[in-house]
């Protein structure tokens, strides 16, 4: 079997070898494609300065800055690294961050947008020309002239619709094949029926041809589709940029030498070096080194945990004090970080039950239109026994009722609302997120990293003696540990000077020690200084043999957290705090922000179950969270928000991403979402009013192509203007 398979491959060795060799040669020297994010560029001078700095490098083939996306894309020789390029731009005086080029797939979305724009342009061109010809027909062209104009219109309309209408035809076919009806079915039917009856009428020198209506309909509907696509493309590219900012790299130790590789290239059994401040790229076991780990993104605990040889670590944890070497036990999709995806998938199946307003309108509308048009056809056929009149009237009914305004009603409003929220720093990722946000009556907040920044703040500065603080400052200055840095900052801000401590050494995983006036002083973990561990986050100072002194910490509040909670409470929403952190920490924060309901020490599954239980009680839950332990709850909630600092998995699971550091836009976003939904309902009502006025005319056979064109344009314009009123 295998030989039979191999035979054709080797039958012509040269044929397969040549392209293979070419491919190999191409792969041997791939040009480096580097992308940088440049958040601070804003002017013509910035562009030329950055481009000049980059092009001056000998390895750079070409560098181009895109001011709209605030990005630079660089084509360079293979040996050029992104780090070099970043340094060049920083030296030119601009902030730069490396973007993972693999994550940026702007070209794919761009192609879809370009295709839509092309179809829109063709439809626009054709509809303008056909309308021009129609105006002369409406104003009284007769006999041969009218026929000539109709034929020219047909010659323009047929190819234009064949090209521009493809998205509608494709969607309608997909829906029909699965035995369903969507908005595209009546659209396609109306366009096709209008074109066919108009052709028939024209060939019989008839008076009424609907070519103008058919092509104008295509144009307006494509405009709606294009708006919709653009809104989503902007959101998608901003979300991609957030992901691309985290370049997945790891330092692998091989035969004692360090090499930097992509996380995707790591294998089970590899030794990986994680420096202080670095995030674990894989699941593993600590092979050497001691340190402390910050697990807040995974569990919500703010208290750093001790890490020593033999202990298991999970991807996503942050190493705090000492360098650690870990042996990988699970990589890529096997890591606990990715296994969480299963939980998310289960939770998400609940949400997909939401039907958007547009779909609900289509479900009512599509069968109604078809029945009405069929009845009109039957009625006229039975009354006159004239097939031509009957089909003409049926086509007129379909065109008049065609969802021109309905097709624009939702995208025009969502485009306006998303643009407004984007300027306030909120990224709407999902197209129905706004509608769902408008229904929210319960808001669940995560604590660590969402309401708080995750950086500790010293709380008992005033209660500590002066000499102790000066000693602690001397020891904490020497450490990069977050708690030590919090002490340093608080003590310096209060105007203390460091005491003269000699022989300061940091013991990774435990703390810092030194010698002061002949006595050993230690600042560190409770167990290391012989103190009783406390419930809240604390570190201890031990001077000689004296009893250890406790330094206690709370998390600093994220800016806007108080405003957001206050605004939501004012809007009459139920606010709940759910955290994986300890009870006293959660209780204290709830009291500080005035949140009545809270839940502490919640496991990820608890959070998701609690959110699901709330949903069961009929509440529409908005979940705001950032950690891995929130991911399932984010997916289970009716709608979810995560800050830009959240883990990638959490951002993917949520519908809205907060781009700034500030939480306060959440309250305003709920109001914007409500007014957007109100506008959508208004738009549906406006479209219905036009239909109610025009349909009787069409059924009575009084509708001329002029009335059809007027009704369509006026309703589309009213709906778009109404969307722009959104504040």
């Amino acid at each position: 079997m295998s030989t039979a398979f191999r035979a054709p491959v080797s039958a012509c060795p040269a044929c397969s070898a040549a392209p293979a060799a070419e491919a190999l040669a191409a792969r041997a020297l791939p040009d480096a494609r580097i992308a940088l994010s440049l958040p601070t560029i804003h002017c013509a001078a910035c562009i030329s300065k950055v481009e000049r700095a980059l092009n001056a490098h000998p390895g750079v083939k070409s560098a181009r800055v895109n001011l709209t996306l605030k990005r630079a894309s660089i084509d360079a020789a293979p040996e050029v690294t992104a780090e070099e390029m970043r340094a060049l731009v920083e030296r030119a005086g601009y902030e730069a961050h490396e973007l993972d080029a693999g994550t940026l797939s702007a070209t794919a979305t761009d192609r879809a947008g370009r295709e839509l724009l092309m179809r829109l342009a063709v439809a626009g061109f054709a509809s303008m020309n056909v309308m021009l010809l129609s105006v002369s027909v409406w104003s009284g062209a007769e006999a041969a002239t009218r026929d000539l104009f109709h034929w020219i219109s047909a010659a323009i309309t047929l190819p234009a619709i064949a090209f521009s209408g493809v998205p509608f035809f494709r969607n309608a076919w997909a829906a029909l094949r699965h035995g369903r009806l969507n908005m595209d079915v009546p659209i396609t039917l109306a366009i096709l029926l209008a074109v066919v009856t108009s052709l028939w009428e024209t060939s019989l020198s008839g008076e009424h041809a609907y070519f103008d209506a058919a092509i104008a309909l295509t144009f307006f509907l494509l405009a709606g589709r294009y708006l919709d696509h653009r809104t989503r493309a902007i959101a998608r590219s901003a979300a991609e940029e957030l992901t691309a900012l985290e370049v997945p790299r790891a330092t692998r130790l091989r035969d004692g030498a360090e090499e930097v590789v992509g996380v995707a290239d790591l294998a089970v059994g590899d030794m990986i070096l994680v420096r202080p401040g670095g995030r674990m790229p894989v699941d593993g076991v600590i092979a050497s080194g001691t340190s402390e780990l910050d697990r807040s993104l995974l569990t919500g605990e703010t208290l750093p945990v001790f890490a020593g040889v033999g202990q298991a670590v999970s991807a996503g944890e942050v190493n705090l004090t000492g360098p650690l070497t870990i042996r990988a036990t699970a990589v890529g999709a096997e890591t606990s970080l990715h296994r969480m995806a299963d939980l998310v998938a289960i939770a998400e199946s609940g949400r997909s039950r939401y039907t958007s307003l547009a779909d609900r309108a289509a479900k009512l509308y599509a069968p109604g239109v078809h029945i009405l048009s069929a009845l009109a056809f039957l009625g006229w056929y039975l009354a006159t026994w004239d097939l031509r009149t009957a089909i003409n009237i049926a086509a007129a009914v379909l065109i008049i009722t065609c969802p021109c305004a309905l097709g624009l009603a939702v995208p025009a409003v969502t485009t306006a609302a998303s643009g407004r929220l984007f300027r306030r720093g909120m990224l709407i990722k999902n197209e129905t997120a706004l509608e769902r946000l408008a229904q929210v009556d319960t808001v669940v907040f995560d604590k660590t990293g969402t309401l708080t920044t995750g950086t500790p703040r010293l709380t008992n500065l005033d209660a500590l003696p002066r000499d102790a603080l000066e000693l602690a400052l001397a020891l904490s200055q020497a450490s990069a540990h977050p708690l030590a840095q919090a002490i340093t900052k608080a003590a310096r801000d209060a105007g203390f000077a460091a005491a003269e401590v000699s022989e300061i050494t940091e013991v990774p995983g435990y703390g810092t020690k030194g010698v002061f006036a002949g006595q050993e002083v230690r600042l560190g973990r409770a167990s290391w200084v012989g103190a009783e561990a406390r419930a809240e986050t604390a570190t201890f100072l031990k001077i000689g043999e004296a009893a250890p002194l406790a330094f206690t910490f709370t998390d600093a509040l994220r800016p806007g957290a108080g405003e957001a909670v206050a605004a939501l409470t004012r809007q009459g929403k139920r606010v709940i705090l759910m955290s994986g952190d300890t009870t006293p920490a959660v209780k204290a924060l709830a009291a500080r922000l005035g949140i009545g309901e809270w839940l502490a020490e919640a496991l990820p599954a608890d959070k998701a179950a609690r959110v699901a239980a709330l949903a069961q009680e009929g509440a529409h839950v908005l979940m705001v969270g950032d950690g891995l332990n929130d991911t399932a709850a984010l997916a289970a909630a009716h709608v979810s928000i995560s800050p830009a600092s959240a883990l990638d998995a959490a951002r993917v699971a949520s519908d809205i991403v907060l781009l700034g550091n500030d939480l306060s836009p959440i309250g305003a976003a709920c109001e914007t979402a409500q007014s957007a939904t109100r506008r959508i309902h208004e738009n549906f009502r406006i479209a219905t009013v036009y239909n109610i006025v025009a349909v009787p005319l069409a059924v009575a056979g009084l509708c001329s192509p002029l009335i059809a064109a007027l009704a369509m344009s006026v309703s589309s314009i009213t709906v778009s203007l109404n969307a722009l009123r959104l504040r």
């Binding site: 002017c43 013509a44 562009i47 030329s48 709209t68 342009a121």
Partner: protein, 52 residues
Amino acid sequence: MNVLAYLIPISLILGGLGLVFFIYTVRSNQYDDPEGDARRILSDDWDDRPRP
């Protein structure tokens, strides 16, 4: 009315030219960076000779 025999083709050709030019601009990525292109005209980097 014979004038129509000229005017209609002329109007169609002119309109068609506009469409072709628009498609050309879309295909050659001229809408990728509208903000940057608006500013680039102000820079005097390649004023004396074209960019190589």
